[in-house]
């Protein structure tokens, strides 16, 4: 049985009168990718903001590695690595300096930070760009730097909010393959928010979110079977049809 790393139950969030999330519940287990599929405005970013404590929980529960997020101390965030949809690197600093800053924020000592930066940069094929300022990197390299940074602390839960947005097709494919390889070889879970259903692999767990509600959850095969669709893309379109039409 797989360990539950993230457990979300009865999560509701409102921006004033507008409901962004409504009774959301799902679980993310270790050693696999959970794809959070949803069209724009489905509530994916709000969900990530709640998991990372950028927003306060209004109703419901989130637990990470068995600890309740609302009542836990701030060190619970050390279990999480995040790649936000919007790029969050400091353009004036080099790749190495950005990673060192993150390592310091997470309390890593110099030697440990050195070793982990070496490892992360070589994993992401960025060793040659270490001394480059982020400003001169292209979108793909910046994204890989952000993933390398998120991996520095060896998180139990890696949150990826639309990490492939703005990347060209070969870079996107390479990143998708890398992340699938990563999760099988490491004791971690990935929650990957996307609206691109072609990023889902057969072995992934899928949560389909639309208008703040979970429409389906399960293995990709189970979710397809439930809707009678012949692909994840078809399933996604059927379950989010009203939103797609509105858009």
């Amino acid at each position: 049985m797989l360990d539950v790393i993230l457990d979300v139950s009865g999560l509701t969030y409102r921006y004033g009168r507008r409901i962004a999330l409504k009774d959301v519940r799902f679980a993310v287990s270790g050693r696999r990718i959970t794809m959070l599929l949803g069209p724009n405005g489905a509530g994916k970013t709000t969900l990530f903001s709640l998991i990372t404590r950028l927003l306060p929980i209004q109703a419901g529960h989130i637990s990470i590695c068995g600890r309740d997020l609302a009542s836990a101390s701030s060190d619970i965030l050390s279990f999480i690595g995040v790649v936000f949809q919007q790029q969050t690197l400091d353009l004036d600093l080099t790749v190495d300096q950005n990673l060192r800053y993150y390592a310091a924020l997470h309390g890593l000592g110099r030697k440990e930070a050195d070793a982990r930066i070496d490892e992360a940069l070589s994993q992401l094929d960025l060793a040659g760009r270490r001394r480059d300022k982020v400003r001169i990197l292209n979108g793909g390299h910046r994204r890989r730097t952000e993933i390398a940074r998120a991996l520095l602390t060896k998180p139990k839960l890696l949150l990826l909010d639309e990490p492939t947005v703005g990347l060209d097709i070969p870079t996107r494919r390479a990143l998708v393959t890398f992340l699938h390889d990563l999760v099988t070889g490491n004791d971690m879970a990935i929650l990957w928010a996307t609206h691109l259903s072609d990023e889902v692999a057969d072995q992934d767990h899928v949560v389909i979110l639309d208008k703040g509600e979970v429409k389906a959850e399960g293995t990709s095969a189970a979710v397809m079977a439930r809707t009678g669709a012949n692909s994840i893309d078809d399933t996604f379109n059927r379950l989010t049809a009203s939103t797609s039409h509105e858009a």
Partner: protein, 266 residues
């Protein structure tokens, strides 16, 4: 929170701020050019027009250049505080603020570390400026340069706290021009930085009282007294109150429970 972890994070935040400052050479030059123009041009022109009589902490008549140097040190720290505020708004718009706010340390600690980092940058600028002033001929007693260090750290923190609070209130970078017009310039000009308050009283009682209540006047006086190895209890009290008050307001404004952080993620 382990002490070792907290110190590493504090060092990381300070180092990042210093590196950004060093890499942004234009910012460093602009920070120095502004007060130097006041010292070399404005003060030279107004020396004859504005006589400065004996008023504490001065024991004798001083030249106008001598009078305005502590005010210009305050100006450097005021602008640096607002620059930090601007960079926080930028960080928020660019998203890098999230990296700070999602690190596994208490948010008040992270914000206070950021505040300290900004204050240290402003102290660095202030000492470079005091060095240029010494070459120009405005020299203070040697021990005063040492005594001024803790004072400049406190005043830098106080002005940085105002900036930090403003950064939580400013929604977009475009709104920052308003801060210049409605906060920085009134704070600077309605203070004792450029003219003693008795001089202002001769012109307008209303303006005198506004200047007397302006916290920046007390911050400038705190610096001025320290540069003459004197102590001004009122100035210290007001500076400390500004620091504590605005630091608390900033911590509250960045606390998601107060719902102000919503702007940063939505």
């Amino acid at each position: 929170m382990r002490l070792e972890q907290a110190l590493r994070a504090l060092w990381g935040i300070v180092l990042r701020e210093l590196m950004r400052f060093v890499y942004q050479r234009e910012r460093f030059i602009a920070a120095l050019v502004r007060p130097l123009i006041w010292l070399f041009v404005f003060a030279a022109g107004f020396r004859a027009a504005l006589g400065v009589s004996i008023t504490p902490p001065y024991q004798t008549y001083v030249t106008y250049e001598t009078y305005i140097v502590p005010g210009l040190v305050g100006m450097i720290q005021l602008f640096n505080g607002m620059q930090s505020s601007l960079s926080m708004v930028y960080d928020r718009e660019m998203g890098s603020m999230r990296i700070l706010l999602t690190s596994p340390l208490p948010r008040p600690f992270l914000l206070l570390s950021k505040l300290l980092a900004g204050a240290l940058v402003s102290v660095l600028q202030a000492y470079v400026f005091l060095g240029i002033c010494a070459i120009y001929g405005v020299v203070f007693p040697m021990p005063a340069y040492l005594l001024a260090l803790p004072v400049l750290i406190v005043t830098g923190l106080a002005l940085g706290a105002i900036g930090l609070f403003l950064s939580s209130m400013i929604h977009q970078l475009e709104n920052f021009a308003g801060v210049m017009n409605f906060v920085i310039f009134p704070m600077f000009f309605l203070s004792s930085a450029l003219y003693p308050l008795w001089k202002m009283k001769e012109s307008s009682h209303l303006l005198y009282w506004i200047c007397a209540f302006n916290p920046f006047s007390h911050i400038v006086e705190f610096v001025r007294f320290s540069l003459y190895l004197s102590f001004n209890g009122l100035a210290l009290g007001v500076t400390a109150a500004v620091l504590v008050g605005f630091a608390l307001l900033s911590i509250m404004s960045f606390d998601p429970r107060f719902n102000l952080v919503k702007r940063q993620v939505s």
